[in-house]
Amino acid sequence: MIKNIYIDNFKSLMDFELNLAAFTCLVGLNGAGKSTVLQALDFISQQMRGDIDEWLSQRQWQARDIGSKLTAKKNIEIALQLENQDHGLIEWKASFNRHSLRCTREEATSNGKLVLKVEDGEFFINKNVSSEGSRSASHSIMFDYQGSILSQLKQNQLGPGLQVLKETLANIRSLDLLSPEHLRQRTRDSAGHLGLGGQKLSAYLHEQGSEARQRLLAKLQTVYPQLTSIDTRSMRSGWKHLDIAEQFAKKTLKTPARHVNDGLLRLLAVLSQLESDEQFLLFDEIENGINPELVEFLVDALVESEHQVMVTTHSPVILNYLEDEVAKQGVIYLYKNASGATQAIHLFEIPSLAEKLRVMGPGEAFLDTRLTELEDEIQGVSQQEGKDASATER
């Protein structure tokens, strides 16, 4: 699980640090930087897949778009910590150069021991962290690449810590542009995952096989009892076609994906990802198209998922279905400071919200609060913390 990320100089994220829970939910006013955080995580993931050009073109961005307008710094600094059951604490720091689209400096440690270093055109990897003596000598980097050097190295060249690092980050999957129009498209193949907007759903479900589709169907039937099948078929031309069937009275009605309702398609996409091999799933505005009756089902599926999950939401109904403890640990309030940089704070650590949560649900506390005025309180709290800290030092 990724415990913590730090990123500096990525759009509105300046010197930005975020602690992550198994389920993290970002809230805040429009323009506070919620989607930017998802994009930043997707950007970090892409470092392990290489091909930053492709990542930029998928989003129709230029390299100059990803730096912050708030500073003249060239590089984007990244740091993160992840914890793995078998391999303990793994840390990675990288400095991404926006011209070469590569991490020109990298350092990774596994339980405190250095396992990777990239600097001045050279790199070394230490495969066996238990023995200081087996540190490989540095090698010159003789090839061109984008992102992290780990994107270019085969798994068997890496020690267990680096393998976990690469795999965990490469398996962050963002669906931050999920849209019904993309979900409806017929596609030929998915290469094992959905696009940012949910493209390739028909091919993805087809490739998952009938057993996986049956499992999805069984889950969906708990909230769509009339649903009788989720079928995919391969056309002669290679296109994959998605149909769903519903039973009304004694009639079975088959509907092609083009005409399936938005909510069902979105649920299908979200649930299929929760079943996938990805490790960290990101969804923007998770409530879109989902009617309030289905929210509990959706929230439970996300919170109980074996994957790490991050969503953004504007919906107090989504928040209200979180248990208080999950809300305390996972709901992050994003806001912009006076200079326009995105800041993060646990929503229910703000004293007024903590007090409200004692007598009402998390969604009610959120909705009841005038967010436009919340910053004054947050500033008061951090000033007081500063004073307390300097008093303790004295």
Binding site: P292, S352, R358, M360, L367, R370, D376, E377, G380
Partner: protein, 250 residues
């Protein structure tokens, strides 16, 4: 008639001694605002009977109300909207929880129970946000939703120190007090009401000391003209009259 009180701590309504989430009679250690409620009830009923001194008082603290909040009924959210302004839900839910306790207490003691809920208008839960009137209305709405007609909101604007300062300020007691309602409720601000009260009382502002002053009649509540206190006084008059009338009918 019995009194059920709830507040934020020792310097307003009071606490249980020894510490507990609820208590009654001699186990309740009244703060200055409990004496205010008691004295105003005495005045409303028209004869000398202190509920605090006659064992007719019950108390529940904040924690008790939080634990006994109304059914979670998460789908039945209190939605902010045109009829429900923001920064009011906290007051609404506390009033509902106290109303529930008051109704069950009335059965236990087989008598009318008047409940007084104290909250600072500018306390932790709002941090300076929201309007006094909306918060006050939401407390009465909370009582009403539970079908409780003897609920009284004690909601000083911005906090109880403003009421006390009006009376205890040695320069011009009881003069131009409405302006105190415009001051910040933040205790950390440079001229906070708390520090002004401290100066006015020469540092004798512990919860015990203030309670003693009020108990001894050091504050003439009828002379204070502040909208947030007037709302409390008139609502208490109305509720006590209703309770007395009901008692006479039974």
């Amino acid at each position: 008639m019995h009194l059920l009180l709830s507040g934020e701590g020792p310097s307003d309504i009071g606490v249980c001694y020894p510490a507990a989430e609820y208590c009654q009679s001699e186990n309740f250690k009244p703060g200055p605002m409990a004496w205010l409620a008691d004295q105003w009830v005495e005045r409303c009923q028209g004869y000398n009977l202190s509920h605090l001194e006659s064992g007719l008082v019950h108390f529940v603290n904040e924690k008790y109300l939080a634990k006994n909040k109304p059914d979670p009924a998460k789908k039945a959210m209190r939605l902010r909207g045109k009829r429900t302004p923001g920064e009011t839900a906290y007051y609404f839910y506390n009033a509902r929880a106290l109303a529930k306790r008051a109704i069950s207490l009335a059965h236990e003691v087989d008598d009318q129970v008047v409940a007084v809920l104290f909250r600072d208008a500018d306390g932790t839960a709002s941090a300076g946000r929201g309007e006094w009137q909306a918060k006050y209305d939401s407390m009465l709405e909370g009582f009403e939703v539970e079908g409780f007609v003897y609920g009284v909101a004690m909601l000083p604007q911005p906090k109880s120190e403003a009421w006390l300062l009006c009376a205890l300020n040695p320069q011009s007691p009881y003069q131009h007090c409405a302006r105190l309602e415009e001051e910040s409720g933040n205790d950390k601000s440079p001229y906070s009401l708390k520090s002004q009260l401290d100066v006015a009382c020469q540092g004798n502002t512990s919860a015990d000391q203030l309670a003693e002053v009020v108990q001894a009649g050091g504050v003439q509540w009828e002379k204070i003209d502040m909208p947030s206190l007037s709302a409390f006084k008139s609502r208490l008059e109305e509720v006590v009259a209703r309770a007395v009338k009901r008692k006479n009918q039974v």
